[in-house]
Symmetry: D2
Subunit: 135 residues, 4 copies
């Protein structure tokens, strides 16, 4: 059991979304945020760094947006779908752009391959959250 | 001239949006993020704090989302409208929810009145950015 | 193997600290940051929330400082001990204050008990990093 | 009057530090954080970007640490000097390292010159806060 799951199980009120799916989403968002931070830094150390400006930029964006999303969906008190939905949509878009860019370098750079996988997983979890919110 | 303006004037490439409008947006996003942080904290010190859970929660969300938006729009290298637009939409939604909530307490709590004004100004600047991106 | 470990193994240059210890530290910092975000929110939903202002406040601080520390230690390019050391010291102090506070509520609130454990683990990992930096 | 000042004047309890100095510090921290975000991005667009890895890295660190510091000192509820002091020390160190690095490029790149000035101003405000906390 992850800490996100444990924390949701001990939350004193009702959780606005399916708790298992939400815990998985929180873990993926937090993990993707940090993987993108590490990928931006790894790109900064590559010899061909000058070709990686777009990758670095999208990594930084994706880290910031996944972080904001992880915090907002972690908050269950007075859950407000009008704030949560558009932010998860923005997060999905950031993961898609960053995943596409990292994937295009994945054959040459392992850190980009791993980061692309994380972005894809995070994009899927965002879509699952959005499907649930649309119900 | 604010530092955001100065930094945009010395940016070595072309800026993807109108530079004056963008600098104003950056300043408002950064300022709104911090005002929301201060408002959440002021609410935590109110006697009637227990009635302010929704206000605190939306202040924290709005602070995190305005911060992410301020960072993403501050980045002009390899500007990607597919990432920027949905995030500015999410930011507009957060400012609206937080502004509505703070406004409802504004008659009794000065910090909420000031915060509501900041959220309204930030909502307007988000709308201006979105109008420009739609062109 | 966690993603932090995988990312450090594929980092294109030398890592300034012991890579296994560093990966563990990154994972703990990131996890503690989010647990604190969740604990602040759980406190906001407690009936006795009005008595939890100090806990909420320290949770928010600890989340922000652990996040900053996780990002800074995740960056290995041009590692600067003069920046990293004082930030890890600040993080240790935040984890200690937040851990003490959460522990004092742990008998009555499970989320505080879990959060206190996370803060203790994060405090230890900060101390290990500082020991290594002092060598 | 800035919004940080207005918010401190309407804060419902006593402020733990001199309110005018604190408001100035919040404004400088928030401003420095964003200037560093903009400077990192401007560096990413420079032709000689490959020589700027250290500058970009320190800009990112300084942005994250100034942000965390701005949030922690903005919170006055249950003010804890044991958390605040080491964080302001870390922030001072980050501003010094980033200021030194940006200054070394300031003759050739205006964004680094402006950013160095901001880091120096933020370093001074951190020192003032620390002096006050030591009393």
């Amino acid at each position: 059991m992850t800490h996100a799951q444990e924390m949701l199980r001990t939350y004193p009120n009702e959780v606005g979304l399916d708790a298992e799916r939400l815990a998985r989403a929180i873990d993926l968002l937090v993990d993707c945020a940090n993987t993108c931070t590490q990928c931006a830094d790894a790109c900064l150390s590559e010899d061909r760094m000058a070709e990686l400006a777009r990758c670095i930029r999208l990594n930084l964006d994706c880290a910031d947006i996944c972080l904001a999303a992880s915090r907002v969906v972690s908050r269950q008190t007075e859950y407000d779908v009008e704030v949560t939905r558009p932010l998860v949509e923005a997060c999905l878009a950031a993961c898609r752009s960053c995943g596409d860019e990292c994937e295009s370098h994945g054959a040459h750079m392992e850190h980009c391959r791993i980061c692309a996988e994380q972005c894809r997983a995070c994009e899927r979890t965002c879509r699952e959250l959005l499907d649930e919110m649309a119900r």
